[in-house]
C-alpha cells in the first residue's frame, strides 16, 4: 500500500516522471473577498486521466478553470500561487493567453458547438491559429480530429450540416474534436457528460480512454462512478481544500481521509 505524501500532494511513483505536464503550487483563488480555493498543490501528467471530484461548491470547477486561465474572464476572480505548463508559468505576463488556451483546451458541461457547419466547427481553430495553409490541409485536420473524437463515421456524409443539428452526445464529441483540432497538450473537461444519456456518456468515456496518453486529460465530474471508470488519479476537493489526491483505485477502495471516505460512500451530510 502506498502512503501519500500530503505535503506536496504528489502520488508516489510519479517522482520517476521526468517532468510533470502541469504543476500547481500553493494556488489560492478568490472571488472578491470569498476564498474558493485554498493552497492547492497538485501535479498533472500526460499518462494519466485526472479526475476532480467533490460536492457542489467545493471549488473543483474553479480550480480546473485556473489551469487555462478561464477565470481571467471573471472580473472579481483573483489567483495567487504558481501554475506551470511544461515548467512555464502560465500566469506570467509573457504568456499569450490565446495560445495557452489552444494548448490547454476545454470542453464544457453543455455541448456548445458554434452555429456553423460540422466542418467549420472543427476548422475554426486551425484557421485562426494558422495550422493549415490550404484547403487540403484543413480537410486532413477536420477528418483526423473527427476520427479521434469518434465522430467521423457518423458525420462524414454531412459535414456541411449544422453542428447544432447533431444529438447531444454527438455535439459533445464535436466539441472534443474542436478542442483536439488545434493540437492541444492538455484537455480540461468540466462535467462533459452531465447533459448526456448513458449511451452517449459511455461513448465519451470510451473516447477519454482512447485519448489518454496523447493528451493530459483532467475531468471534473459529479459522477463518482465515472471518475472511477475513466481516471487513474483522483483528487477530492471539499470547501476549497484539496483533501486527498491519489491513485484512483486507492481513493475508491481505501481512502486515507475521513472526509473522502464519507463523500464517496455517500455519507456526506
Amino acid at each position: 500500500m502506498v502512503a501519500l505524501d500530503m505535503t506536496t500532494d504528489t502520488v508516489p511513483g510519479d517522482a520517476a516522471v521526468a517532468q510533470h505536464k502541469m504543476t500547481t503550487r500553493n494556488v489560492n483563488v478568490y472571488y472578491g473577498a470569498k476564498q474558493a480555493i485554498k493552497d492547492v498543490s497538485i501535479d498533472i501528467d500526460m499518462d494519466n486521466v485526472t479526475a476532480f471530484i467533490g460536492p457542489s461548491g467545493c471549488g473543483k470547477s474553479t480550480f480546473l478553470r485556473t489551469l487555462n486561465r478561464m477565470n481571467d474572464t471573471v472580473a472579481s476572480a483573483r489567483v495567487t500561487g504558481e501554475i506551470t505548463l511544461d515548467g512555464e508559468d502560465i500566469y506570467a505576463s509573457s504568456m499569450d493567453v490565446v495560445q495557452l488556451r489552444a494548448r490547454v483546451g476545454m470542453v464544457f458541461q453543455k455541448p456548445n458547438p458554434f452555429p456553423k457547419s460540422i466542418y467549420d466547427n472543427i476548422a475554426y481553430g486551425p484557421r485562426i491559429h494558422g495550422l493549415a495553409t490550404s484547403k487540403a490541409d484543413l480537410d486532413v485536420i477536420v477528418e483526423s480530429s473527427l476520427r479521434r473524437a469518434g465522430l467521423w463515421d457518423e458525420v462524414k456524409d454531412r459535414l456541411r450540416d449544422s453542428g447544432t443539428a447533431l444529438s447531444g452526445g454527438q455535439q459533445q464529441r464535436l466539441c472534443i474534436g474542436r478542442a483536439i483540432a488545434v493540437e492541444p497538450e492538455v484537455i480540461l473537461m468540466d462535467e462533459p457528460c452531465s447533459a448526456l444519456d448513458p449511451i452517449a456518456t459511455a461513448k465519451i468515456e470510451e473516447l477519454i480512454h482512447a485519448l489518454r496518453g496523447r493528451y493530459a486529460i483532467v475531468i471534473v465530474t459529479h459522477n463518482m462512478q465515472q471518475a472511477a471508470r475513466v481516471s487513474q488519479r483522483t483528487a477530492f476537493f471539499h470547501l476549497g481544500d484539496l483533501v486527498e489526491y491519489g491513485v484512483t483505485t486507492d481513493i475508491f477502495t481505501n481512502p486515507r481521509e475521513e472526509r473522502t471516505k464519507d463523500y464517496i460512500t455517500g455519507r456526506y451530510g
Binding site: M1, T253, T265, G266, R267
Partner: protein, 229 residues
C-alpha cells in the same frame, strides 16, 4: 465519521447483511458446540439437530449472496462499504464450510456412539472450545469492524494446531497398541482434523475482517505461517 448514509435504505440493507452474517455465525457456533456434546455425551438426538440445522445455514448463505449482489448492483458501494460487502460474501462461504465440519462431527458421533472403548476425548472438547471461540471472536470482529480482535483470533490458531498434533499422536498410539480401536480412533482423528480446519477457517474470516476494517492486508509473515498450517 458520519455513520449514516444519506440514503437510509442503504443503511437498512447493510444492517440486514450484518444481521444475516451474525445469525449464520451464531448457528454454526451452536452447531459445533452441540456436535461436540453429541460426541462426548453420546446423544444422538443432538447430532440429529445439528444435521438438520445445517440446512438453515446453507439457506442463509444463499440469502447473503443474493443481498450482496443486490447491494453491489443497486448501491455501488465504495471504500469501507465495498470492503465490508465483499468480506461478507466471502465470510459466509467460510461459515458454511465451518457448518459442514460441525455436521460431519455430528455424523461421526452417531457412528461411534455405543461402542466407545477409549477415552482420548478429553482433549477434543478443549480443542473445540478454542476453535469455537475463534469463530465467535472473528464474527464479533466483523460485526464491530475490530481489526485488533481479528488479529488476536489469528494468533490463537497455533493453539488449535498444537492440540491437533497432540491428539494425533495419542490416537496413533492407541491404534498401534490396540488394533480393535482403529475404527473408532479413525473417526476421532477426523473429528480432530475437522476442528483443526475450523480453526483455519476462523483465521481466514479474521483476515477478511482485518482487510475490511483497515483496507490493509495482514503482514505477509502471518499469511505465510497460515499457508504452512
Amino acid at each position: 465519521m458520519a455513520e449514516q448514509h444519506t440514503v437510509s435504505a442503504f443503511d437498512d440493507e447493510i444492517n440486514r447483511l450484518r444481521g444475516l452474517v451474525a445469525e449464520m455465525g451464531g448457528r454454526v457456533e451452536l452447531a459445533l458446540d452441540e456436535a461436540m456434546q453429541a460426541l462426548v455425551k453420546q446423544e444422538p438426538g443432538l447430532a440429529e439437530r445439528v444435521i438438520e440445522g445445517d440446512l438453515r445455514v446453507d439457506a442463509l448463505e444463499a440469502e447473503v449472496e443474493k443481498l450482496v449482489v443486490q447491494i453491489i448492483a443497486l448501491r455501488a458501494p465504495m471504500a469501507n462499504d465495498l470492503r465490508e460487502v465483499i468480506a461478507a460474501l466471502k465470510i459466509v462461504g467460510v461459515i458454511e464450510r465451518i457448518g459442514d465440519y460441525a455436521k460431519n462431527i455430528a455424523k461421526r458421533s452417531r457412528q461411534i456412539s455405543g461402542h466407545r472403548t477409549i477415552e482420548p476425548i478429553s482433549l477434543l472438547p478443549s480443542m473445540a472450545q478454542i476453535a469455537g471461540e475463534m469463530v465467535h471472536d472473528a464474527l464479533d470482529a466483523f460485526a464491530t469492524r475490530n481489526a485488533v480482535l481479528a488479529s488476536a483470533v489469528i494468533e490463537r490458531d497455533v493453539l488449535v494446531d498444537n492440540f491437533y498434533n497432540s491428539i494425533f499422536r495419542t490416537l496413533v498410539t492407541y491404534m498401534v497398541e490396540n488394533p480393535k480401536t482403529i475404527s473408532e480412533c479413525a473417526h476421532l482423528l477426523f473429528v480432530a482434523k475437522n476442528i483443526e480446519r475450523i480453526g483455519d477457517h476462523a483465521t481466514n474470516v479474521a483476515e477478511m475482517v482485518y482487510y475490511a476494517a483497515t483496507g490493509e492486508y495482514l503482514p505477509e509473515r502471518d499469511r505465510a505461517a497460515l499457508a504452512e498450517g
